[in-house]
Structures are given as structure tokens and as C-alpha cells.
């Protein structure tokens, strides 16, 4: 008979890999059902439970492909990327990547990016809380140090670029949206900010210059260096208006002065 370790290895391989489990079958009391029928309850519960978890984390992907396609997609994903955690809100990190390489999803080239957006939404939803920074903290910085000023963005901030109009796709497929329209994929791509100032996650489509500016600040560029690069794209970019707007929105939570 199997010891506990071997038994669990075979059980898990049966559930995820559909592996042969003759030795495990021999350990199970039949009592009216075959060992296989009894084990299949666990295999089905796992598949159904994880499919539900993916559906909860990727509701727009599910809406776009429909229930039947999603079931097949989820089953293939679960087999290749079984969860490495019991916290199911953290399951699906690789879903977008998997979709991008899933041949049956090829007719929907934007699907992987929609999954990417939904994953970032999910991450932002559970990220740490942090209050907004007061503007007067910036005014206290001596002028001689202005060139060294860097801003810390809220922990929930995520930035995403797509070649497809995924913001529109995502918006039209939210619960409660009764809009029905055809989206022209030729409309071009999106540059998105995902961010949770308090409890609600916001998804904003940004202009090219705003996206560049926030990306530079988010990756640790000084305010001055970010401005210089944005001016090359948009000479009329109003740094102070943008700074005030995003400070007010709670996007910046702290600052530091860079040391050379």
C-alpha cells in the first residue's frame, strides 16, 4: 500500500495530469463505486472550482468567448498551470500568456490583452492601501533640490499598453453596461492606467504624453527628467496641471530626493 506521500502524489497526478493511478486505485475501498468513480469526484470538483475561480478573476474574457469556450480554455490552462496557492484570487497570473499561445483563441487577437487588463485589475484590487500626499509637502522642498525630486506612486498603480482598443471592449462588457455596439479593431490601441485610490479600481485611458510622463515617474525618473522627455512628444504638456491633477486623484503617495 502507498504511504501518505506516494498516495498524494498519485492522487494529484490523477486530478491534474489524468495520469494512470492503478496503485492508488488499489488503496481505495470500492463500497459500491469503482475507485475511479470516487476519485473523479475530486477531479471534477477541482476542475469546476478552478474554472469558477478563473471566471471570477476574468469575467470579461468569459463574456467575450462564452461559457462553452471558456470551459475548454480553463481546462487546458488548469492542466498546464495548476494553482500554486490556495488563495484563488491569486490564481491566473499566467492566463494572459496562455491565451496568447492558445491556438483556438487566435480569431480573437485582443483576448490576451483583455486578460492582462483583468489580471492587473485583480492585483490592484488587493494591493496595499495608501493615502494621498499633501501638496504642501512638495512646497517645503528647497529649490536647490527640485532637480532631484522623484514621486512614489500608489502601490496599486499598473500601466498597460495594447495594440487593440481594449478599454472600450472592457467597458462595454462590464456588468450593468447595456451598450451594444461593434468595436472597430482598426481604432488603434490603448494606453491604460489601472489604479485603486480607495476601494474601487479605476481603469483610465491616457493620452500618449500622459502615459509617457506617468510611466517615467512610476519607474523612478525625476520630475525634471520626465518633463524633458515628455516635451519632446508634446511641447505644450502642462506639467504643473498634470501634477496637481494626479496628486488630487491620490496617484502619488510620497516623494524622495534622489542622491547622486
Amino acid at each position: 500500500m502507498n504511504n501518505l506521500h506516494a498516495l498524494q502524489q498519485q492522487f494529484t497526478a490523477y486530478v491534474f495530469d489524468h495520469a494512470d493511478a492503478e496503485a492508488l486505485f488499489a488503496d481505495i475501498t470500492p463500497n459500491g463505486f469503482s475507485a475511479q468513480q470516487r476519485l473523479n469526484v475530486y477531479r471534477n470538483n477541482t476542475r469546476l472550482g478552478l474554472t469558477e475561480a478563473l471566471k471570477a478573476n476574468f469575467p470579461v474574457v468569459e463574456k467575450l468567448v462564452g461559457e462553452a469556450f471558456f470551459k475548454g480554455l480553463a481546462a487546458a490552462f488548469i492542466q498546464k498551470y495548476p494553482p500554486a496557492t490556495g488563495c484563488l484570487q491569486e490564481y491566473g497570473r499566467d492566463f494572459a500568456h496562455f491565451i496568447a499561445n492558445f491556438p483556438p483563441a487566435r480569431p480573437l487577437p485582443y483576448l490576451a490583452d483583455v486578460a492582462r487588463l483583468e489580471w492587473l485589475w485583480q492585483e490592484a484590487y488587493h494591493e496595499a492601501d495608501q493615502g494621498k500626499m499633501m501638496l504642501n509637502r512638495l512646497t517645503a522642498i528647497p529649490q536647490t533640490r527640485h532637480a532631484d525630486l522623484c514621486l512614489c506612486s500608489h502601490p496599486s498603480v499598473r500601466l498597460l499598453v495594447s495594440s487593440y482598443p481594449i478599454h472600450r471592449i472592457w467597458m462595454l462588457n462590464q456588468d450593468g453596461s447595456d451598450h451594444c455596439e461593434t468595436i472597430d479593431l482598426g481604432l488603434g490601441g490603448d494606453k491604460l492606467l489601472v489604479f485603486r485610490p480607495e476601494q474601487d479600481v479605476e481603469v483610465d485611458a491616457l493620452t500618449d504624453s500622459d502615459f509617457l510622463w506617468l510611466s517615467l515617474l512610476h519607474s523612478g525618473h525625476t520630475l525634471v527628467s520626465a518633463a524633458e522627455q515628455v516635451y519632446q512628444l508634446d511641447p505644450y504638456f502642462d506639467v504643473s496641471a498634470h501634477l496637481l491633477y494626479w496628486l488630487e486623484a491620490g496617484l502619488f503617495t510620497d516623494f524622495y530626493l534622489r542622491h547622486d
Binding site: T12, N31, Q89, E127, P155
Partner: protein, 287 residues
């Protein structure tokens, strides 16, 4: 956190009345209407994030109701190493929420780092017992508190077993000092599936170790013309399980009783009506 002070001073212990499982869809309604349930139980896993809405709502609900933390993925019966990352997060949640009870399952759900998302049974042997006792001891030492262990619903039994399930749970409680969370629906489902006698089970369990009772609904499946009961938590508690509750209360005295409902979630009023029914039975015991 702004609310930390009030949380630490809020009443934490779980009363011997009926509580309900808290699900996100009911957050606002519970806070707005304050239904007269004695306490709330949550799945720990849903509150292990760093922040955001789930913790925000839980901290507000904590002001109104004692909270019990019920874990589903510690995988105590697994031969994988204990998940210390998970335990760190659980400990932080315990410090934040100050729960009256913390519970887990007599089961495993991960092997080789893969998580089954289902509570799988272990063979009830001396080897499994010492494995579980050492893991429960480690967890209780790390968390600095006693935990409760719940009997699972099961769909198979191992030939290796030398204990019946309630004997095994009793031994586990005796050797590790853990309490027992007796899920009466699971007793019912497993008894039906394996031909056990549910009343023998309840009479056999160490009543002085039982700290909490669970009630839930199940589903009857037909496989090739034979019945298999599945623990689905998607419907009202059945009459037979209510009858088991009466037996259990007569044997153990008043205990906290939880109404669990996890899928096909009904209106809050349906849950509170089930809780009132349980409360009436708990109250009836006093008379």
C-alpha cells in the same frame, strides 16, 4: 490603520448562537441592516491581500459582529512542507481582525506545490496521526493560539485506515490540543457515502473538544444508478441534518452554529432565516 484601536477592543469571542458565512455580495446589506445573527465567519484566504475592499469591509463588520476565520488551504494533511508564507499572512490577518475562532480542515489539498481546490481525505493511520499532530502543533505554536479542525466531506475511504474518522479526530484533539469543528452536513454526507452511522459518529466524537458546529446544504448525484452525496453548500440545510443538530446540541450543550452557503448564494434574508432556525434550536436546549 485608523480602526486598529476599536478592533482590538471589540468583543472577539464567538457566542453559542447561530452565525452566518460572510460573502462579499452581502457586505453592504449587513452593515446597513445589522441582521440579528450572533457572529460572522469568513474564509481566511479571501482576506490575505495587502489591502483594498475585502479588508475595508471586514474591519467595519468587525465593529458589529465577532468574527471567526475559517481556512481552506493550509493543507495540514499534506506531505509538502508547511506553507510558511501563507501562515505569515494568516498571522497578520489574525492580528488585524482579532477573531474569536480560527479553524482548518482534517484534509490535504496540495502536493508537489499544486493545489487541488478541494479537501481531500487522508488515511486514518498512526503515521498520519503523528504527521498531523506535529503540523498542528507547529501551526498552533506559530499562531500563538489553539485552532479548530473540521471533519471533511469525503467521497472515498482508504483501505490503510485503522481508525474510524471520529476516533481519529478525537486522537488528534487529544494529542495536539486542537479543538474540533464538527460539520454536521459533512458527517451526514460522508455517512451516506460510506455507510457509516451518523448518530454513532456524533455520539463518538469527544464532545468536550467540540467548539463549533457547521450546517450546510448538499446535493445528491446519481452515478450509474447509485447515489453519491456531494457537499455543495448551495442550498438550505436538509431535515436530516437539522435532526443531527438536535442530537448534537442535546449531547454537547449550546455551541456556536454556522450556516454555510458558498455557491448559488441566496438573498441575505434566506441565510438569516436559516440562522434563526438554528438559534431557536440552540435556545430550545436551555429550556
Amino acid at each position: 490603520m485608523a480602526s486598529a484601536l476599536s478592533i482590538s477592543t471589540a468583543q472577539a469571542s464567538i457566542p453559542a448562537t447561530a452565525g452566518i458565512g460572510l460573502r462579499s455580495r452581502h457586505y453592504r446589506e449587513i452593515l446597513a441592516t445589522k441582521p440579528s445573527v450572533g457572529w460572522l465567519e469568513v474564509h481566511s484566504e479571501n482576506y490575505l491581500g495587502k489591502g483594498g475592499a475585502p479588508l475595508h469591509w471586514l474591519e467595519q463588520l468587525r465593529m458589529e459582529y465577532p468574527i471567526s476565520l475559517h481556512g481552506v488551504s493550509l493543507s495540514l494533511g499534506s506531505t509538502d512542507t508547511l506553507d510558511w508564507g501563507y501562515l505569515d499572512r494568516l498571522k497578520a490577518l489574525i492580528e488585524r481582525v482579532n477573531p474569536g475562532l480560527v479553524s482548518e480542515h482534517l484534509s490535504w489539498n496540495s502536493s508537489g506545490g499544486r493545489f487541488l481546490n478541494d479537501l481531500a481525505p487522508v488515511p486514518y493511520t498512526d503515521a498520519t496521526l503523528s504527521h498531523l499532530v506535529s503540523r498542528i502543533n507547529a501551526v498552533q505554536a506559530f499562531l500563538g493560539r489553539r485552532i479548530l479542525i473540521e471533519n471533511p466531506s469525503s467521497y472515498l475511504e482508504f483501505k490503510q485506515s485503522t481508525y474510524c474518522e471520529y476516533e481519529f479526530l478525537n486522537a488528534l484533539a487529544r494529542h495536539s490540543g486542537c479543538g474540533i469543528l464538527l460539520d454536521l452536513n459533512n458527517v451526514y454526507v460522508s455517512s451516506r457515502n460510506h455507510g457509516w452511522n451518523a448518530l454513532d459518529y456524533i455520539q463518538g466524537i469527544a464532545g468536550d473538544c467540540v467548539e463549533e458546529l457547521h450546517l450546510a446544504g448538499h446535493t445528491l448525484n446519481q452515478i450509474n444508478g447509485r447515489s453519491l452525496w456531494i457537499d455543495t453548500h448551495n442550498r438550505p440545510v436538509c431535515d436530516d441534518v437539522w435532526a443531527l443538530l438536535k442530537h448534537a446540541l442535546a449531547l454537547f450543550g449550546p455551541k456556536p452554529v454556522l450556516i454555510e452557503w458558498d455557491s448559488e448564494l441566496p438573498q441575505l434574508a434566506v441565510l438569516t432565516a436559516e440562522a434563526e432556525k438554528a438559534s431557536a434550536l440552540i435556545g430550545g436546549w436551555h429550556e
